[in-house]
Symmetry: D2
Subunit: 347 residues, 4 copies
């Protein structure tokens, strides 16, 4: 069977997680997060991150992001983010909705990665403390990015320092956080709060869960109103145990790492196999589980005729395509794709 | 093992639904609702309701209610609902959030059931078409109600007619819709659109699902912006197939009916067993899966000592308690509870 | 010419205020509140209130109330107010809009005056710190009330103490603050911050100004974001000098007192003249500039035939009418009204 | 006395308007817009615009803009506007507040004027009818622009056609509408609805009024909910007659034209006098009442030492300054400024 590289959301659920869901289905448990699996999540994440943090489980990444930004930023605030960031491009204004009308400020920078220079150019366009303008309230960076790249840790630290010096909060959209961690090879603590991240959307759904995202609040003041915001958003799950069970299984036995390692590896293999083919150009460095590539129309058509699935991606330029490797990607699928591409390229 | 009557959310997931979730975990599927299980839901519900309707899956009942009311009511609108309605008492202002600030108007009426008379008294306090006031936009009724009662169908029809004559929309909070259907013995069509319901929060979670609620839109104009509202609320599930699978399993083989029949039966048995005991008073007619009862402190303490679980319920008056029978309630649990209560009552 | 008792908004502008507006029209002045007249307002009000306070000028009472409540209460908060309060009955949901969806909780109590007992009954219906519910955030009382009564100062102090003990803020809707002050005979300081008021909507428009309301913030934390909220609401006036000039003129020479004394006196005279007439009943104690009265249809018709103007007021019961005396009410108008009523009553 | 070119808001009120305010102060009048002066405004504007339109008076331009955009654009909509537009740069998120979280999309184009090409580049970046994204709902153009330029009428017509073809509405921010009209020499009808404008913020405050802006709704569907939106925003003025009186006086006797002619003339004279001086560069074509100019620091300092007032304007580049000529600008002030600049330039 040919490979499907449409989206990591297209993949199913890891067996370990499916087992955990089934395992949680025993007897009665208090609703709305007062069950033991949810109550022990905080300690589980404290272990993972090597420090205490507040943990709020929600069902979607959009909810995690929008709630996080609402905690960081008043309605008259502005969120500086990359111009390709999911929060500003792909969430139908959820951050605007949850913040009660804050402004998302898109910042251009290469390969999906904000830089202090680019942030600064936007920041200095604000008149600070002038009530005629919204005021910079937060920076949101995606780790891994929407371009399939990963911020090196010194870049995160530099952005965090810059952000805090200006009185703003730093949000990390970690829809693909595990992919970034594997790519960086650093600890979760180093990747987040030790670098200065105040609040993290910790995604598991794209990396093998059914539906489980956690808002991890490192800066305690941001947690104060979160329980109200979450309920008000319709994001407090009544049978929370089945969502918390997913996160336990995700962290236990390093499932997150195994899944992300597989996905990243598949993306790397795809990119290696494709690069150098005539008419093929890898658009961004491949550092996580996504490959952005330009390829001739004939090659794309040929691959699809053979059953391979992937999206056209106009933002990547003429002939742009996006290949996303999921945690379920097999070596066969990758090899098959590369072989077919080579064949179509006449090599 | 003694019985747990805390909440229908405390119960686990029906095996048929757990199987369906596992069964959906095969191969790749398009994300965000473009998968076959989600796409066939509309036809499945059309069959169930004997007509076309738009179907929007979300993860929580609060989201279903708040999105529904936002479709019915502009920000300067008012929602008339029972003073005990979940939408005004237990959702932390989610309807206010999703409607961008509409007003929930609590209406008092016996046993959790709105009446046209009570609605009319509230309605006539509005100055219609006067921009100094919010304007009545929707009526929201809960079927079954928060008092464990069920509206007879002529009551729904009467309220619907009254509502439409005044240019408002009728929302039904069906968090316990199956319990009401079983109690009424009527068809889903008769219980909803044929009676004049414009939009329904169709709940499955309290009746055996893991997390699956559907907004069923009978009045087409209310569906127009729902996809945007849902995404913006962070309620569009990326791996939708696992939520849609639950709803298929819930409808297939009448699981909804079997579960609700069991839950309603347990509540009826509890209420019959308790009524007549000294110091015990059944507060509301028991027509679904909830029993509201006043009992002496000593009886409540004694039952809890034996491991039975239930909530104190001050709204039911002095000594008020709430017993909720879930789809998993067993005859043993019910018999055990009644026997223990009788024993404690010295009978 | 017969009297018009429709509304204090029907009256024109006091000559002193009109002169001040004309007087402000000289030369250039910085816009948006950076002009000398606006900048000196803070000191002027500090003198009036015998302490420092932040002052924010807006054009309408609705804006002053809604902005004040937004400063007091988060979106998941609740505002306890009298069931007849302007903020919940007559502002088309402006407080819900400005707070981003807080809940207005109407409290019933006689003669428009909240009592600690009535507040307590509502307050205890909340489950505190439970994220399933909005949380009590503020109490809003109107001084003078919508029933034409005035809170005695010990009542305000008692409500303030009760409010603060529960961690809430106290807002005073002073659309008719001058009328209350004159009625109470106490100092502005005693009527507000010394009694525990945190934030005041200081109205001048109903008492002789053209359009000038000031938000007076006694509790400094409530002022922090007000400049942003005001601008965002479209309430920052570009040529502020012409609004600040009104407030200077209003405070200077005790214009506020002279106007309110006249209006209150007229209401008292109306009420004295009417009371005891057959079929006539004064509904609320007349303590400010409004008279709520029941009178026979024939009398109301007869008065209107002679050109007198006033509103029917169904909330005051069968035959209810509202007479509002403005700062421009003349003795002749009052005497004429009373004489005509007596005549129609056959006396 | 040297000239003040800080802002048109720094100027006072035209005598004709001050007289009209005073003239409105006679007797009682119904509040909240039911007075004769307000009620006749609609006919007055119908005459001005040669067709019926709904008219809503508010006190600030920010309110007029934000209410207009809220009528055009749902919360999940996007407003395309120039990157320097007041609505996105200078209103502290008022449009986001009033629309309940729509997205303002800044579009770059020369001299403050949107072009169809620039709009199209932004528009085509949207995925239409995709609920993951906000959807283009309105175009907002400023006439005259924030760069002191004016759209030629064929440009407005072209933008309107482009906007309507894509199902969007066209808003015109006419804070300086009179200046544009004078510059264009066309009729108000030609400048607006005949060209395809759906809704206009008709500003008078910057051109001689005290505080009076009118939302003119040409597309009737946009007027439906405006009365509620306005009240809810705290923008319904209780003593409306004093605001409507300003607009009558503004339209009567062509005061708008006389004022704008003077202001535009002064700006033109300033620009002519400055252009060609060494080190001086006129940044944008001077087509209304604003001059954006780069001048050496020494010249700016020298002018200020002599008492001339104007703002530094970094957006206009190094040495950028903004000179705004108000309706009160005198020939002496202009000549004095030019002479001083020449002198400082050593000419």
């Amino acid at each position: 069977m040919p490979g499907c590289f449409l989206s990591d959301n297209s993949a199913g659920v890891s067996p370990e997680i499916m087992d955990a869901i089934a395992g949680a289905n025993s007897g009665m448990a208090a609703g709305y997060g007062a069950d033991p699996l949810t109550e022990s999540l905080k300690a589980r994440f404290a272990d993972f991150f090597e420090r205490e943090a507040e943990v709020f489980v929600v069902a979607t990444g959009t909810a995690a992001n929008a709630l996080s930004l609402a905690a960081c930023c008043p309605p008259w605030g502005a969120v500086l983010c990359h111009e390709q960031a999911h929060v500003t491009v792909d969430e139908c204004g959820a951050p605007e909705f949850y913040t009660a009308g804050a402004k998302l400020c898109p910042v251009a920078a290469p390969h999906g990665r904000l830089t202090v220079e680019a942030l600064d150019a936007t920041f200095t366009s604000f008149r600070l403390n002038d009530p005629h303008q919204t005021q910079p309230g937060a920076v949101s960076l995606s780790q891994a990015t929407e371009a399939g790249t990963v911020y090196p840790m010194d870049a995160v630290r530099e952005i965090a320092a810059w952000t805090h010096e200006r009185g703003m909060k730093l949000h990390m959209d970690g829809a693909r956080f595990a992919n970034a961690l594997v790519s960086l090879g650093c600890t979760p603590a180093d990747a987040t709060w030790r670098a200065g991240v105040d609040i993290l959307s910790f995604g598991a759904t794209k990396n093998g869960a059914l539906a489980a995202e956690a808002i991890i609040v490192f800066e305690p003041s941001l947690a104060r109103s979160m329980a109200y915001r979450r309920k008000r958003g319709g994001q407090l799950l009544s049978k929370s145990r089945f969502f918390s069970a997913q996160l336990h299984a995700y962290l236990d036995g390093d499932l997150w790492r195994r899944n992300a390692t597989r996905a990243n590896g598949a993306a790397t293999a795809l990119s290696r196999g494709l690069s150098g083919l005539p008419g093929v150009e890898i658009v961004h460095p491949v550092e996580a589980n996504e490959v952005f590539v330009r390829m001739p129309e004939a090659m794309a058509d040929g691959l699809r005729l053979q059953g391979f699935q992937f999206l056209d991606w106009p933002k990547a330029g003429r002939g742009g395509r996006r290949l996303v490797a999921s945690a379920n990607a097999t070596d066969d699928e990758v090899r098959g794709f590369v072989a077919a591409a080579k064949d179509l390229a006449g090599q």
